[in-house]
C-alpha cells in the first residue's frame, strides 16, 4: 500500500526503456508502439542527436554575441521528439519557447528558429505552414489559446462519428513546464478545455526547475495529480524515454480526437543545462544532483538499447556526427546571413488594416532617417 500520493504515482511512472537501456513491455501502451521498427528507432536517435547538436550550436552563437539569448533544452530531447512524433500534420502545436525538438518533428527549419533569438523577428516562422505556433514568452499565455483553438476544432467537427474523428479529427498539443503550471492561465485553460471537451493534450515537461526555483515550490504533489481535479485523465511518463513518451502521447491524442476531451501528461525529465544562456545553475543546485540525472540522459539510454540489440554500429554514429556538424554549419551560416529588416517594416505589422497614427509616424520616421542620408551626402562633397 503506497504511503502517499507521491509514492503511488512514482509506481505509476510509465516507462518502456529503462535508464539501463532495457525494453519493458506494457499492457496498455505496447499497442501504441507496434509500428516502431528498427528504422524508426534509429530515426528517433537521429532526431534527438540533431536537436542536441542544434542546441549546442545555438548556445555557441549566443556566447559569441550572435544571439540575444538562447534557451537550451539539453536533457529534454526524448520528451520533445517522442511527443512531437506522435502528432499528425493536422494537429496544431502551441509550444513554450524551448520546444526546438518538437519544431524538428514539425519540419520547422532550425535556422528559422533563430530569427526570434537573433532579434530579427518577433516570431520567426509561419505558424500556418507546419501548424506549429510561434514561441510564447509570457508563461502559460499560450495555454488558453490552445483551449480556444481546440474548442473551435470541436465546433467544426460537430456531428462527426467516431470513425471520421479517428481518421480525420484534429487535436491540439499545449506545451508548458512545471514553472508555468502554476500560472492562472494554465488553470483557466484546463477548466475551459474540460468544460467544452476540447481536444487538447496538455504536455507538461517537468524539468524540475523554474529557472532557479525547484519543483517542490511549485507543487506539493506530482503535477499529474492535478488532472483529476479538472476531470481529465492524467499520465505520468518518464520524459527521458522516447518510446514511452511516444506511446502515451499517441494514446492521449487518440483520446482527445475521439471527442472524450483533454488529457494531461506530465513528462518527468531534467534540464541538464541552464534555463537560458543568462542563467547560472551553480548558484542554486548541487553538481551531485546533476550527476544523479546524467545517467538518465535520453540519448545515452537509446544508444545503449540500439547497441545492445545490434541495431547500430560505430559507422552510424560517425555518420550522424558528421551530418550534425554539417547541419550546424548550415544553421550558423543561415543565421549570420539573415538580413535585418528596417524599422519601417515594423510599422506595417502593427495593424492588419490601415491606421492613421501608424501611417503618420511612419512618414515622420522615414523623413527623419532620410535626413541623415542628406548629411552623409553633404559630408562626401
Amino acid at each position: 500500500m503506497p504511503r502517499s500520493a507521491a509514492e503511488a504515482l512514482e509506481q505509476d511512472l510509465i516507462q518502456i526503456l529503462t535508464p539501463e537501456g532495457k525494453r519493458q513491455s506494457h499492457s496498455l501502451y505496447d499497442a501504441y508502439l507496434e509500428d516502431v521498427d528498427d528504422d524508426m528507432l534509429r530515426d528517433f536517435y537521429r532526431d534527438m542527436a540533431m536537436t542536441r547538436r542544434f542546441d549546442q550550436e545555438a548556445t555557441a552563437l549566443q556566447r559569441q554575441g550572435q544571439l540575444c539569448l538562447w534557451v537550451p533544452l539539453r536533457g529534454q530531447e526524448a520528451a520533445q521528439i517522442g511527443s512531437g512524433r506522435a502528432t499528425r500534420d493536422g494537429d496544431y502545436i502551441f509550444p513554450t519557447y524551448r520546444e526546438h525538438g518538437v519544431a524538428l518533428t514539425r519540419n520547422v527549419p532550425f535556422s528559422e528558429m533563430l530569427r526570434l533569438f537573433r532579434g530579427i523577428s518577433g516570431g520567426g516562422w509561419d505558424p500556418r505552414e507546419n501548424n506549429f505556433h510561434m514561441y510564447t514568452m509570457v508563461l502559460a499565455a499560450q495555454l488558453p489559446h490552445a483551449a480556444g483553438y481546440a474548442m473551435a476544432v470541436n465546433l467544426e467537427q460537430h456531428g462527426w462519428d467516431e470513425a471520421k474523428r479517428a481518421a480525420e479529427g484534429e487535436a491540439v498539443v499545449a506545451y508548458f513546464g512545471d514553472g508555468s503550471s502554476t500560472e492562472g492561465e494554465a488553470h483557466e485553460s484546463m477548466v475551459f478545455a474540460n468544460s467544452f471537451n476540447a481536444p487538447v493534450v496538455y504536455f507538461c515537461q517537468n524539468n524540475q526547475y523554474a529557472i532557479s526555483v525547484p519543483f517542490e515550490v511549485q507543487s506539493k504533489v506530482p503535477l499529474v495529480s492535478r488532472a483529476a481535479g479538472y476531470g481529465m485523465p492524467g499520465i505520468r511518463v518518464d520524459g527521458n524515454d522516447v518510446l514511452a513518451v511516444l506511446a502515451v502521447t499517441r494514446w492521449a491524442l487518440e483520446h482527445a480526437r475521439s471527442g472524450k476531451g483533454p488529457v494531461f501528461i506530465e513528462a518527468v525529465t531534467y534540464r541538464l543545462g541552464a534555463h537560458t544562456t543568462a542563467d547560472d545553475p551553480t548558484k542554486y543546485r548541487m553538481s551531485e544532483e546533476e550527476k544523479l540525472w546524467a545517467p538518465k540522459d535520453p540519448l545515452v539510454r537509446l544508444e545503449t538499447y540500439l547497441r545492445e540489440n545490434d541495431l547500430v554500429d560505430d559507422a552510424f554514429f560517425e555518420q550522424l556526427a558528421q551530418d550534425a556538424d554539417e547541419m550546424a554549419a548550415t544553421v550558423r551560416r543561415d543565421a549570420m546571413a539573415f538580413p535585418v529588416p528596417p524599422l519601417a517594416k515594423s510599422f506595417e505589422q502593427v495593424y492588419a488594416e490601415a491606421h492613421p497614427l501608424v501611417q503618420e509616424e511612419l512618414a515622420w520616421h522615414l523623413e527623419y532617417e532620410a535626413g541623415f542620408a542628406d548629411q552623409a551626402a553633404d559630408g562626401e562633397k
Binding site: G123, P144, Q349, P356
Partner: protein, 325 residues
Amino acid sequence: MTTTMTLAKAITSGLDAVLENNDRALLMGEDIGRLGGVYRITDGLIDKYGSHRVIDSPLGEAGIVGTAVGMALRGHSPLVEIQFDGFVFPAFNQITTQLAKMHARSEGRLNVPVVIRIPYGGGIGSIEHHSESPEALFVHTAGLRVITPSNAHDAYWMIQQAAECKDPVIYLEPKRRYWLKGEVDTEAPALDAFKAQVVRPGEDATIVAYGPLVPVALAAAEAAREDGRSVEVIDLRSLSPIDFDTILESVQKTGRLIVAHEAPTFGGLGGEIAARVSERAFLSLEAPVLRVGGFHMPYPISKVESQYLPDIDKLLEALDRSFAY
C-alpha cells in the same frame, strides 16, 4: 428603415446581424446565454443561434479572452463580453501581451479579429469596480483599436464594424446610456467606425467627448447658447485611432477646446488630444486646451460620484475659463 430603440437593444440587434451574416462569428462570456448577460445585451440570441454560437463560459476573464484568441487563430470571429469594466484586468495580460501583439509578432501573417465588449463608466450608483473607465490603458497599447458609441444608431453599426475589422477591437459600451432611446436606421450606410463626428455645430468653442459624456456635452452646449456662446460638440467615437483631422478642423474654426471624459485626467486621452492640438493648431488657439475629467483617485463611492463625474456645470465652468483666458 428607421426604428426607435434603446442603445442596449441596438447592440443586441447589431450582434444579431453579426451572427446572421457571418457563420464564423460567435459570442462568449459569463452569463450571456440563458440569462442574456447581466445587462441582457445578448438576450434571446442563444435561442436563435444555439449554445455553440452563444457560449456561456466558465468564470475566468483570462480564459475568455485567451480562448477567443485561440478561436481566432483557427479562423473564427469571437465577440466576447466582459461583465464589467473593473473585471477586465484578469484578462489584461491576454489583451496586451497576446491579442494586441499577435499580428505584429507573426510579421503580419496572423490576424486575431477578436472583439471585446466592455460596459464602462460610472453614474449608475453601484459598488466598487462597476463604474470604471479604463480606456487609456487600451488606447496606450499598440495593436488594439478602441471604439465607443454614444447613441443607439452608432451602437448598432459600430458593433458590426468591429466584428468585420481584421484587428482586435475593444468595444466600450457606455452602460449608463444603455436605456437611452434613439433612432436607428438599419439601412443607412454607417459612418466609418474610426472617425469622429460633429454632433452639434458651433463657432466659438469645441467640446470633444465620447461615450457617456456626449449627452452631457450636448446639454452644456445648449446651456452655453443661452449665454450667447456657440459651442461645437464632437463625438470622438474612436479612441484608437483618434480622428485628429475632425478635431483640428473644428479648433481651427473655434480657437477653443475642452476635452471631457470620465476617466481621470492624469495620463488620460485629454492630455494626448491637448498635446496633438497644441502641436498642430497652436496659432489657432485662443486659450489653452482644458480637460474635464475624473480625479486621480480610485473611482469614488457612489454616494458622492456626482461630485466626481464631469457634468454640465463642470463643462460650463471650463468654457468660462477658456473664454476668460
